[in-house]
C-alpha cells in the first residue's frame, strides 16, 4: 500500500531487519566465533608512556607449554596508518614505545591464560624517556627527544592556516569584537563490545573477521603490512557491538592475528580486554580553542578568527583530517563573510586520538555556540536571536567553498523553541535553559586515499523471486542493513524483510568505504537506489512484454508487478534476459574549493540540528541535573523514523555524557581510569526525557531526500548544557565536562568578584605559518 508520503515502506517505523537475531542472542560478534583449534592471542603492551626499546627477550615465553608462536616488531616492521600522509604505526613496535599500551610482542597459545602468562614472561629492556603529556609541553623543546620523527617544530604534528575573504577589513568594520578561550576535554567511545578479531589462513588465503567499521581500510592495511596481494585477503565485518568512530582505524591486533594465523596454520583470535580498549582509543581529541569574532551593531557576523590546538596522542591516526575539521564546519551554520582558521595538532605520550561521533567538530561547535551566546549577552540579545540573524540560507556556498543545499535550521529552531517554551521559561533559582544548533556531513566528499572510484557500490541479484543485495557497507548498529533493504524493497514493491543482504565482506560484496562520517545512508543508499531501479526496469519490461502492456502502466507494489506476482515477474525476466543482476554506484560530486586543504569539509549534503536543554544546577554541590532535552534534526527524509529517532536519542545521550562526566584523563603518564566503573558514562537513571522532532527538508541529492542522523545531533548538546548552566547560575563553564567541581569553582570566583567562569585563561603561542589565502566563491555561486 502506498502511504500518503507516496512511498510503501520508506518513512515507516519498521523493525530492523536483524532485530530478532539481536534480541535472541543469535547475532554472531567476532568474539563469539571459536573455530576448532583456535589459538588465543595476547599482546604485551608498554608500561611506559615514552621509552626506547633496547632488547626484547622472548625465549622464556617460547619455551612455555601451550605456546605456539611469539612475534615481535621485527616480524611486522612495515608501518601503516589510516591516512596516506601519516603511515606512522607498527602492529608491534621494536624501536620505541610512545604511550602506555603501545604493543610490543604477541603470543598465540592454546589457552588465553597461557598466552597471558607467556606475555608476562617476555623480558623487555627499556631506556625510559621523559613523557610529553600536555599541549603546552608538546609545543616546548623536548627534554629527551621528540615522540615522532616527523612534523615539528618540537612535538607539533600538523599546522594549518587558511584565510577566506577580507578578515582584517571585517574586524576593522565591526562595531563589537570579542575573544574567548575554551577547552573540550578528550573522551572515548566506550563501545560495549571490546574490539575482537579472528584470522584463518587456508589455501594461501587469509580471512579476517573483525569488529571493524570499515572492512576496506583493514583490507588495505593487511595487504601493506603482510606484503600480500589484496586478492589473497578477505576481511569480513562480524556483527558489530558499537563503534562511534572507535573502530574506524586498522588496528594492531587485526594485523597480529593475521600474522599468527599465517605462521601457525591455525585460527587465531584476539579480543581486547576492557583496559586495552581504552588504550586502543582513537577517541575525541582534547582541543584548546580561541575564537575572535567581529559583529555589526545588529549582531551580524563580519569576520571570525578561529584557532585550535589538538592534543593528538602518540600517532597520526585521522589527526590531519581532525585538525582541518576543527575549522571547517563553523561556516555551514552561520553566514561568515570573512574567516581565518589556524589549527595545530601535537603529539603527546597518550593513546592516539582520532574520530569520535562528530569527528573534530563537537569541540569547535561547543566553543562557537557559547562564544556567540556571550556576544549576544553583550549586545542585549538572546543567543537564539543573534544566531538566527546569522543563519546560513539553503542553496549557498560558504566563504570556505562548502556547498549547502537543503538546510532546515530555521524549522529545527522553531520546533525546539516552541515545544520547550524557551522564551517564556520560568525564572527560579538554579533553573536554566540553553539553546544551541549544529550541522554535520552526510559523508565526506573525498575518500581517505585519493582515487576517482565510487565511494559505494551495490549489486542486486534476483533469482526465482528471491532478492539479494550485496554491499560493502558495515552495519554497526545504526541500521545500515535496514536502510539498504528498505530502499531495495521500496523500488521492487516488496517488504524490507523480503530482501536478503550480504554486506561488509571484501570477497563477496562490492566496495563501500564503511561506517564513518555519516556516509552510509546517503552513499550506499544512492547506490542501492540506482541498482534497484535498474532491476525494476528489467522486471517491468519482461512483464509488459508478456502481458502486452505499456511498461509505463505496470504498477509495482504489494509483492506484485502488474498482473503477475513478483516471483512470476522474476521468472519472466530471467527467461528474457538471463541471469538477473544489476549494479549501482555512488560517487560524490566534486565539491572541494580551489585551495590546498579544501578536501576536508565538503559533503554532498549537511544535516542540521537544534537543541534546548532544561536543567537544575545546585549552587552548593555544583551538581547539574538535566530535566529534559528537546532536539529537532533535519534528516532530509527519514527512511525509517524509528531508526532515525534511535540515532538522535543516542546522540543526545552521548552528548550529555561528554558535557557532564566523560573524560579520558591522565596522571603521570597513566590513564586515570581505564575501566567502565571509573570512566563515568550516563546510566538509565542519569538520562532525562528526550523529545525528538524529525524535520524533513528532502535533500535534492539524498536517496529519497535523506541525509545523515548518527552524528550531527550530538553536537549542540554540550554547548546547550553549558548555556543552560549560565542561565541557571550566571556562570560560564567554558570547559567540558562541566563537573560539579568546576561549577562550584566558578561560583566561588563569582562570589569573590572575579570573572564568573571556569575555563582556560589563554591560548598558547603557536608558530602558525602565514595563512593560505583563498578567494571566496562568487556571490550567488552554488
Amino acid at each position: 500500500m502506498t502511504e500518503p508520503n507516496g512511498f510503501a515502506v520508506v518513512g515507516k517505523p519498521l523493525p530492523r531487519v536483524d532485530s530478532v537475531a539481536k534480541v535472541t542472542g543469535r547475532s554472531v560478534y567476532a568474539d563469539d566465533m571459536l573455530p576448532a583449534r583456535t589459538l588465543h592471542c595476547k599482546i604485551l603492551r608498554s608500561p611506559h608512556p615514552h621509552a626506547r626499546i633496547l632488547a626484547v627477550d622472548t625465549s622464556a615465553a617460547r619455551r612455555m607449554p601451550g605456546v605456539l608462536a611469539v612475534i615481535t616488531g621485527a616480524d611486522l616492521p612495515i608501518k601503516f596508518g589510516i591516512l596516506p600522509v601519516t603511515q606512522d604505526e607498527r602492529a608491534l613496535e621494536h624501536e620505541k614505545v610512545r604511550y602506555v599500551g603501545d604493543p610490543i610482542a604477541a603470543v598465540a597459545a592454546t589457552e588465553e591464560e597461557i598466552a597471558a602468562a607467556a606475555c608476562d614472561a617476555i623480558a623487555v629492556e627499556y631506556e625510559v624517556l621523559e613523557p610529553v603529556m600536555s599541549i603546552e609541553s608538546a609545543l616546548a623543546e623536548p627534554k629527551d627527544e621528540r615522540i615522532q620523527d616527523y612534523g615539528g617544530p618540537n612535538n607539533i604534528h600538523k599546522l594549518v592556516a587558511l584565510e577566506f575573504g577580507d578578515v582584517d577589513g571585517g574586524f576593522a568594520r565591526a562595531e563589537h569584537v570579542r575573544e574567548d578561550v575554551f577547552f573540550f576535554q578528550g573522551n572515548t567511545h566506550l563501545p560495549m563490545e571490546q574490539h575482537s578479531a579472528l584470522a584463518t589462513y587456508v589455501d594461501g588465503k587469509l580471512t579476517l573477521w573483525s569488529s571493524t567499521q570499515v572492512v576496506h581500510y583493514v583490507h588495505r592495511a593487511l595487504a601493506k603490512v603482510l606484503e600480500m596481494p589484496m586478492s589473497r585477503i578477505r576481511v569480513i565485518g562480524a556483527a558489530h557491538g558499537g563503534g562511534f568512530g572507535g573502530k574506524t582505524d586498522p588496528f594492531a591486533h587485526e594485523i597480529i592475528v593475521s600474522k599468527l594465523a599465517i605462521g601457525t596454520g591455525r585460527p587465531v583470535k584476539c579480543t581486547l580486554t576492557r583496559e586495552e580498549v581504552f588504550y586502543a582509543h582513537r577517541g575525541r581529541h582534547p582541543v584548546l580553542m580561541w575564537v575572535r569574532t567581529g559583529v555589526s551593531g545588529e549582531g551580524k557576523i563580519l569576520a571570525m578568527h578561529f584557532r585550535t590546538a589538538l592534543d593528538g596522542g602518540a600517532y597520526g591516526s585521522y589527526g590531519v583530517a581532525s585538525t582541518f575539521y576543527t575549522g571547517a564546519l563553523q561556516t555551514v551554520t552561520y553566514d561568515i563573510p570573512a574567516y581565518r582558521f589556524e589549527g595545530c595538532r601535537v603529539f603527546t605520550n597518550k593513546p592516539p586520538c582520532g574520530p569520535k561521533r562528530g569527528h573534530g567538530t563537537p569541540q569547535p561547535r561547543f566553543a562557537l555556540e557559547l562564544h556567540l551566546d556571550k556576544i549576544a549577552h553583550e549586545l542585549g540579545l538572546q543567543g537564539v536571536e543573534l544566531k538566527q540573524r546569522n543563519f546560513i540560507r539553503p542553496m549557498t556556498r560558504t566563504v570556505n567553498w562548502l556547498r549547502v543545499t537543503s538546510c532546515g535550521l530555521e524549522e529545527c529552531t522553531e520546533r525546539v523553541m516552541t515545544a520547550s517554551g524557551y522564551m517564556k521559561r520560568e525564572r527560579r533559582a538554579g533553573h536554566g535553559m540553553g539553546f544551541a544548533i549544529s550541522s554535520y556531513l552526510s559523508g565526506a566528499g573525498t575518500a581517505i586515499y585519493w582515487n576517482d572510484m565510487p565511494h559505494s557500490e551495490v549489486q542486486i541479484k534476483v533469482d526465482r523471486g528471491g532478492v539479494t543485495a550485496y554491499c560493502g557497507a558495515m552495519d554497526i548498529g545504526q541500521g545500515s542493513d535496514s536502510v539498504l533493504a528498505t530502499i531495495v524493497a521500496e523500488e521492487l514493491g516488496l517488504q524490507p524483510a523480503d530482501i536478503r543482504l550480504v554486506t561488509a565482506d571484501t570477497d563477496t560484496t562490492p566496495i563501500d568505504l564503511g561506517s564513518y562520517s555519516s556516509r552510509v545512508t546517503f552513499m550506499a543508499g544512492n547506490a542501492a537506489l540506482e541498482a534497484a531501479r535498474k532491476m525494476r526496469a528489467l522486471l517491468v519490461e519482461a512483464v509488459a512484454a508478456k502481458t502486452s502492456k505499456d511498461p509505463e502502466t505496470i504498477r509495482v507494489g504489494d509483492g506484485r508487478m502488474g498482473e503477475v506476482s513478483f516471483e512470476e515477474a522474476s521468472v519472466l525476466a530471467e527467461a528474457r534476459f538471463g541471469t538477473l543482476t544489476t549494479a549501482g554506484s555512488y560517487t560524490p560530486p566534486k565539491l572541494a574549493g580551489p585551495y590546498k586543504g579544501s578536501g576536508v569539509g565538503p559533503s554532498p549534503a549537511y544535516s542540521y540540528s537544534a537543541c534546548v536543554v532544561d536543567l537544575d544546577a545546585d549552587a552548593r554541590s555544583g551538581l547539574v541535573k538535566v530535566n529534559k532535552v528537546w532536539i529537532a534534526h533535519d534528516v532530509g527524509r527519514a527512511i525509517n523514523p524509528l531508526l532515525v529517532e534511535g540515532q538522535v536519542e543516542g546522540s543526545v545521550y552521548m552528548g550529555l555524557g561528554e558535557a557532564l562526566m566523560e573524560e579520558q584523563a591522565f596522571r603521570k603518564g597513566l590513564h586515570k581510569w581505564p575501566s567502565m566503573l571509573e570512566y563515568k558514562s550516563p546510566t538509565f537513571v542519569d538520562m532525562p526525557e528526550v523529545q525528538t522532532f524529525l524535520v524533513e527538508t528532502v535533500d535534492p541529492e539524498g536517496p529519497y531526500g535523506a541525509k545523515e542522523a548518527g552524528q550531527g545531533p550530538l553536537l549542540p548538546v554540550p554547548p546547550a548544557v553549558c548555556a543552560a548552566v549560565h542561565d541557571a547560575l550566571g556562570i560560564w563553564i567554558d570547559e567540558v565536562p562541566a563537573t560539579p567541581e568546576k561549577v562550584v569553582e566558578a561560583l566561588r570566583r563569582k562570589a569573590k568578584g572575579e570573572p564568573p567562569r571556569y575555563g582556560p585563561s589563554r591560548f598558547p603561542t603557536i608558530p602558525f605559518p602565514d595563512p593560505i589565502k583563498a578567494e571566496p566563491p562568487a556571490h550567488g555561486q552554488l
Binding site: 517505523p13 523493525p15 530492523r16 536483524d18 532485530s19 530478532v20 537475531a21 539481536k22 534480541v23 535472541t24 542472542g25 543469535r26 547475532s27 560478534y29 568474539d31 563469539d32 571459536l34 612455555m64 607449554p65 601451550g66 605456546v67 592454546t110 589457552e111 591464560e113 597461557i114 567511545h189 566506550l190 563501545p191 560495549m192 563490545e193 571490546q194 556483527a239 558489530h240 557491538g241 558499537g242 562511534f244 580486554t273 576492557r274 554497526i476 548498529g477 545504526q478 541500521g479 524509528l642 529517532e645 534511535g646 536519542e649 543516542g650 546522540s651 543526545v652 545521550y653 552521548m654 575501566s675 567502565m676 566503573l677 558514562s681 546510566t683 538509565f684 537513571v685 538520562m687 528526550v690
Partner: protein, 164 residues
Amino acid sequence: MKGEMARDVERLVLALDVNGERTELLLPVHKTLLEVLREDMRLTGTKHGCELGECGTCTVLVDGAPQLSCLVLPVQIEGRRVTTIEGMANGSVLHPLQQAFVELGAAQCGYCTPGILLAARSLLDGRPRPTREEIGEALAGNLCRCTGYAKILDAVELAAERMA
C-alpha cells in the same frame, strides 16, 4: 598435542542446569560462569563488556534473579536454574519483552541487549507493572552506549502492558 593439558589446574565435574537442560562439564574451578557459558557450552548470546562486574552486559538469571555471570563461579550455582538469552523465547515465539524490543527499535548494536532483556524479565516477573522510574532503577546496572535508553524504557513499558 603440544602442552594442551600441561598446566596443573584443579578441575571439577559440575552439573549445570541452563535453560532447563542439564549438562555435565569438567571445568577448571576458577573459570567463571560467563566463560563456561560462552566457551564450554557455546551459548554465546551472553556477552561481556568488562569482565569486572561494572557494565551489566553479561547478566544472566540464576533462579530468576539477575546475576553478573563474570563474577559467578559455576561451583556456586550448581543445582540452581540458570537462564540465558537463548532460553528466553518460547521456541520461535519471542518473549513479550523481546517482541517489544524488536517493534520499538530498542536494540541498536544489540550487544548489551541480552543482559538488559534478562534484567528486565526479572523485574517484570516480580513486579508486573513497574513505573518508568522503577524500570530505570532496575536496569541502572546495565550500560548501553547506542540507544540513550529511551527506546529500552518504552519497550519494557510496552511489554509490561501486554503481559498484564
